[in-house]
């Protein structure tokens, strides 16, 4: 984890951030989630289809996918952490930069040094699967894959009707547009797709 410092940052989200927090440097991996399952006895309502999962995240070092918001929350709790709020996520993704489109700045042409998204090029050799976490350059806060690889569950409700939870960051299957640091998507908390994963945060005392 790295410590994300509290400075008056600019986010497009309303909730302000009041204090420093720690964030996982990478998305939670398959290996970490397996460890969680083995040692916690947590039983997903529907057993995880590993054969399908391995098609998109083939090793322990790839991001865990096909996890619902509930699974992600359970993991975070087991680890003594929690999911980031949307504001925390976006603040951390900006990596200390102000008013830039992507975690690395505005330059689209260097996107593939930082992110696994649709297609291949540069560092992005993955077409059709996730990349091993940390395969690209980190942002200004030392966080990897805040853009691309897998969408990341956040704590918050997306809507006032409280039906959907927020996802941020874009994924291996999405275009450049979705890698924007302010881009918001959502899904029902029970959804467990092959392009959604998560990472955790910890409040600093």
């Amino acid at each position: 984890m790295v410590r994300i410092p509290m400075i008056s940052g600019y986010t497009e989200v309303d909730d302000p951030i009041y204090q420093d927090f720690y964030m996982d440097v990478t998305e939670v991996t398959v290996g970490q989630f397996k460890k969680f399952l083995k040692s916690s006895g947590y039983k997903p309502e529907k057993p995880i289809d590993w054969a399908e999962l391995f098609k998109f995240s083939p090793t322990d070092k790839h991001p865990m996918i096909r996890v619902s918001w509930h699974h992600a929350t359970a993991y975070a709790k087991w680890a003594g952490k929690r999911l980031p709020t949307e504001a925390e996520w976006e603040f951390a993704a900006r990596g200390g930069l102000v008013n830039k489109t992507f975690p690395w700045g505005d330059d689209e042409s260097i996107a593939r040094e930082y992110a696994n998204f649709y297609g291949t090029g540069g560092k992005d050799q993955w077409d059709g699967t996730t990349a091993r976490v940390g395969s690209f350059l980190p942002n200004g806060y030392g966080l990897y894959d805040m853009s691309g690889n897998v969408w990341e569950w956040c704590q918050d409700w997306y809507d006032e009707g409280k039906e959907y939870r927020v996802c941020r960051g874009g994924s291996w299957s999405n275009s450049m547009l979705s890698q924007r640091v302010a881009y918001r998507v959502n899904d029902v908390p029970t959804a467990a797709n092959y392009y959604v994963g998560f990472r955790c945060v910890l409040e600093s005392k």
């Binding site: 398959v30 397996k34 399952l37 083995k38 057993p47 995880i48 590993w50 054969a51």
Partner: protein, 272 residues
């Protein structure tokens, strides 16, 4: 005197040397190893090359709840049996007819499509096929046996060689020409292509092969498997089923035989 001594000495040498050899034989008897039924045989009656099918299959690899690999297990699918490595040939069927006087009068038509003794016999009904089998002391394969052997030890694959349709012409004579498949609208001599994992030739393509079973609960048609020279690659799939009246015969129906391992050859258990 000296002569007698020499003779005695010689006799003593012979006796003692002889004794030594006998001692060695007693201490180390020869070991007899029972290796079980032979993997490859030639069936005397029709000269058919046959391979031993051990009747074991490996189930698919799966994962447990924690994502750890659970490797497939070896399960017994059937008792061991031998299978003809190729479809029954014109030459073999000729021998059958000659020795038994069995009534078969399609030679003129047949020779147009299966011109040599090494081509598969065609224009044979299910009854003709069964009669040949009886003569040899063998039988037609069941549908289950046919599909199991066609898979050649592979699990969950479409064709006898795997999933790649693009390499079909290395293994099968079907519609058109390409690769090894030089026969267009013609039958190929048996064994012209690559065999599958069990050493069986032409399980896909060339001629459809009669099986023992009824096709369905109507009990009016018998099963045919394998696709043929006339059909497209879709029919080469191991799971594709065809059927026809047992009295019917045509240019693209043939057969091969199987036989259960004779009791006296079963031998020791199979090593897993």
């Amino acid at each position: 005197m000296i002569q007698r001594l020499v003779v005695v000495l010689l006799i003593m040498v012979v006796v003692f040397v002889g004794c030594d050899e006998k001692e060695t034989d007693k201490v180390k008897p020869k070991e007899v190893v029972d290796e079980g039924p032979k993997k490859r045989i030639i069936w005397e009656k029709d000269g058919a090359k046959m391979v031993l099918i051990e009747g074991f299959a490996r189930t698919k690899d799966t994962y447990d709840d924690f994502g750890d690999l659970v490797p497939g297990k070896l399960v017994k699918v059937s008792d061991p049996f031998y299978m003809d490595t190729t479809e029954v040939t014109v030459g073999q069927f000729k021998k059958f007819v000659k020795e038994t006087g069995y009534k078969y009068d399609r030679w003129d038509d047949m020779v147009e499509y299966s011109p040599t003794d090494k081509h598969p016999i065609i224009l044979v009904s299910w009854f003709d096929a069964t009669a040949y089998c009886e003569w040899t002391g063998k039988r037609l394969p069941t549908e289950k046996e046919w599909e199991f052997t066609a898979r050649g030890g592979l699990i969950g694959k479409e064709f006898p060689w795997g999933d790649e349709e693009s390499i079909a012409s290395e293994y099968a004579n079907f519609e058109g020409t390409e690769g090894r498949d030089k026969w267009d609208k013609q039958i190929a001599p048996v064994g012209s292509f690559l065999p599958n994992g069990y050493g069986l030739y032409d399980m896909a393509g060339n001629v459809w092969e009669w099986c023992q079973d009824w096709y369905d609960s109507n009990h009016d048609t018998r099963v045919l498997r394998g696709g043929s020279w006339l059909f497209n690659s879709n029919f080469l799939r191991v799971a594709t089923r065809n059927n026809d009246l047992p009295s019917y015969s045509t240019y693209y129906y043939g057969f091969r035989c199987v036989v259960d391992v004779p009791e006296n050859q079963k031998g020791s258990k199979v090593k897993l």
